[in-house]
Amino acid sequence: MTVDGHSGRTAPPSDDARVDELRQRLRALGYLDAGVDRFVLGPARASRRPWTIALFASIRVGALAALLLGPAAAIGVRARMPSLVAGPRDAIVVAVYLGLFFGLAVAASAFVAGALVSLAARQSDASFAKRGDRLSRIAGVAVTLACLTYFTLWWQTVVANVGWSAPYWTISALAIAVAIGLLLGHAVTIMSSAIIVAAVGNVARVPSMSWRTTIAAGLVAFGGAALLLTWSARAAPIDTPRLTVVPSGVRVRVIAIDGFDPAIFQDLADHGRMPALSSAFTQGAVVRIDEDRDRQDDPARVWTTVATGQPAEVHGVRGIETRRIVGVSGSVPAAEESPIARAIRGTTDLVRLTRPAIASGIERRAKTFWEVVSDAGLRTAVVNWWATWPARSDGAVVLSDRATLRLEHGGALDAEIAPSSLYQTLRERWPALKQQAVEMAGPLPSVISGDDRRALLRRSAELDAMQLTLASAVSTANTDLTAVYLPGLDITQYALLGSSTTPLDALAASDLAGRLAALREYYAMLDRMLAPSLAPAAGEIVIVVTEPGRVSARTGARMALLGANVSRGTIGDSDSTSVAPTILHVLGVPISRELPGRARLDLFDGEFARRYPVRFVSTYGEPSRSNAVSEGTPLDREMIDRLRSLGYVR
């Protein structure tokens, strides 16, 4: 007969504290479920030297940290960067990366603690053994505190930064951090004991903690972490207020011209070769935009600053090139170009951990003016602006910077166009739209010599014409805001003057003259293409925003307003963060107090300024993270190839 032994062993639980103490002692001695201790002390079983034990046990402590912290941190990252962690697969990959990172960091910390204990043990006499348990505890407490401080600050600054405004999340995160910190500290205590045993032969007691001590330590640690979190917290974010529009009856068309040199323009205007733009600049209000020239040659960065009204440090798009982490569908912002960042980037690219990607809306952390306008309930359309992919269908019509590429390639949409229903319409009209763009680009002037230059100008003109054509196609008479970005001038200028391997001062005079002549011709071509767009309809304001582009870094940018209620002449200086609030104010949308720039009321006549004073809201909130329609094959490779052929990326 078989005995039902399991029923025989279920003695009534004892609440005697002595039993719990004994249980802890047994765990410390390797009985019961002291799995962590056995795991950490694995390398100490053989008669190894203290340093060797410290090394191998630290690796195990690091492995433990990686297993615990990787998944926990991935959950935190998911809360903060949903675009990076788009699904379970991404979560696993991020957990692996973060696990590796935290594992290495904790292993290094544990090794330092172990090495210090080893040094202390070696330089002490035999009586040191009696104090060994105290030293082990100190090492464990030090690592616990270091881990907890780091976890708390990491959670605060990198992951959530929401402080106590999300109390359940915060309490959960701190509780997990405390539990993991205590466990890792315990592991280091055990490791230190083993090191002391190896160094001096024995310890008076094996360190262990009763459940009462553990709970007390946990509560103290939690309180400390909570204080640290409170102390380091920024002001809690305010709920995004609802935007109320005071209709001004004005529609706005924004034309963004990159690579625009005011000096060349003025010379051509003086010779009557740019009648349309000249008219806009003379009959409208013009603002000189003084830029901080630091890195202002990067179009993705500059134009996202214009679109969001925030500096790059806030909007997050720091350059055309970003890094995509292998295995993750999202991307992370490229680091600043410090030598260390370049070295890390080169190394991670070399081992294929990261690969270059193009700036996109994934990195952007501030709303663009068209997103704010759309949030306010107005009809908007934006065409070809930088970092607009993936296009999210939150009401606005968005033809992202990849839209033309998708329309050329066909196939299923990968968030290049929003709303997705628009894609089919445009795809059906694509041949006609192309023909229309070719006609708008018109014939090349005969004075342009050289096949290469002619091909360059043809390509740039058709590219700009296509954006203008698409803008016309997607906007209607009821569209409150249309914005289109024209890259052709910058592409032309850069190809003629910026990309040559030969320095400009080494070029033959005739060659240089030919290049400048071609560039000047393109200004005239652009003026001709823009002419219909620069004539504001009734109740419409056209805003031309120019940036000097990648070559003319020393020349200034301009913003010109043309249309009803607009003053005339050059009116002061500004910076590019004032463009967005000015556009928003024209449309009757309140201005966020978070924007550093101001709406330029002085560009309008007194009546308009009086009737429509600037109104403010606390914040526009964060950009929408709603899912974009993404069914097709990503055009990442094609986008990089195209931008490389246009000289944007190397």
């Binding site: 007969m1 062993r9 003695a11 005697d16 039993v19």
Partner: protein, 288 residues
């Protein structure tokens, strides 16, 4: 009424009994009779059965592990004779009858103990080929030696009539009981050519089970019926035992948890370890 051993035990016990009777006869010289007296006394043969079950769990056969199992039991019988001596625990009752030295005298009992110990090593040396025989001999020497039975017994003697801390008590139990439990399990695994992971898991099983066995032994000394336990009741009153630290209920609780941990250590073997789990269940519930 004593808890009956698991059904499958009988076959293993019978094999062990037969093997022990082959190696030590009941007739012959006084020393040989004294050896047989303790070795063939009624016993559950937990340790040799553990050896054979471990061998089978690791893909070997009970038959090949039988010699190692017999050696383990001879070492155990030897330790019992020595433990009961007047100079040691001075016990008069063992396995339900008079202690060896009471029947044969102290001198013959000591010789019988050494005879059994010697015979255990001889059995290992002749039954197995090198290097397995060397590994088994080293394992037995370790279980008996200064970190095993001898250390445990010495620490136990020095602790008599003295207050001892829990760490010392654990050391005594680890030496007197745990070491041979551990050796029993590992010996079986070695005869089956087990890998390091299997040996590690069995070692964790035996370590926890060995301490549980001893905790229950302490409990039986307090609660048990001498007619069932076969030992003098409350002979450990002068000693600090597990029960001294935890109380009776606490000792029951911890013994149960140790057995449960032992079972958990067998997780890598899955259902194949069912018989070893039955063994731990039997130990957890034993009354003798």
């Amino acid at each position: 009424m004593p808890i009956a051993v698991p059904v499958f035990f009988a076959a293993y016990q019978a094999n062990v009994e037969e093997a022990l009777r082959r190696v030590v006869r009941e007739s012959g010289s006084p020393v040989e009779r004294a050896m047989a007296y303790t070795l063939h006394a009624p016993s559950k043969r937990v340790r040799p059965v553990l050896t054979m079950l471990s061998a089978e769990l690791c893909g070997g056969t009970a038959e090949r592990a039988l010699a190692a199992a017999a050696a383990v039991e001879m070492v155990h019988a030897s330790s019992l004779i020595l433990d009961d001596l007047p100079s040691m625990d001075d016990a008069s009752l063992r396995r339900g009858r008079s202690a060896n030295h009471v029947v044969f005298g102290e001198a013959i009992a000591i010789l019988a103990a050494f005879g059994l110990l010697n015979h255990a090593f001889g059995t290992i040396a002749t039954a197995y080929e090198p290097p397995l025989s060397s590994r088994l001999a080293a394992l037995a020497a370790e279980a008996v030696g200064r970190d095993g039975l001898i250390d445990g017994q010495a620490a136990d003697l020095l602790a008599t009539d003295r207050d001892i801390n829990f760490d010392l008590l654990e050391r005594i139990h680890r030496g007197k009981t745990g070491a041979l439990f551990n050796a029993s399990a590992i010996a079986g695994a070695l005869t089956a050519g087990a890998d390091a992971d299997a040996i590690k898991a069995l070692s964790a099983f035996a370590k926890n089970l060995g301490l549980a066995f001893q905790v229950i032994d302490d409990l039986l000394d307090v609660e048990g019926n001498p007619s069932e336990t076969g030992k003098s009741a409350r002979k450990d009153l002068r000693k600090t035992t597990f029960v001294s630290f935890s109380g009776v209920a606490g000792a029951h609780q911890l013994a149960a948890e140790l057995c449960e941990t032992a079972d958990n250590a067998l997780a890598p073997f899955g259902r194949r370890a069912a018989r070893l789990r039955e063994l731990s269940a039997f130990i957890a519930a034993r009354t003798a």
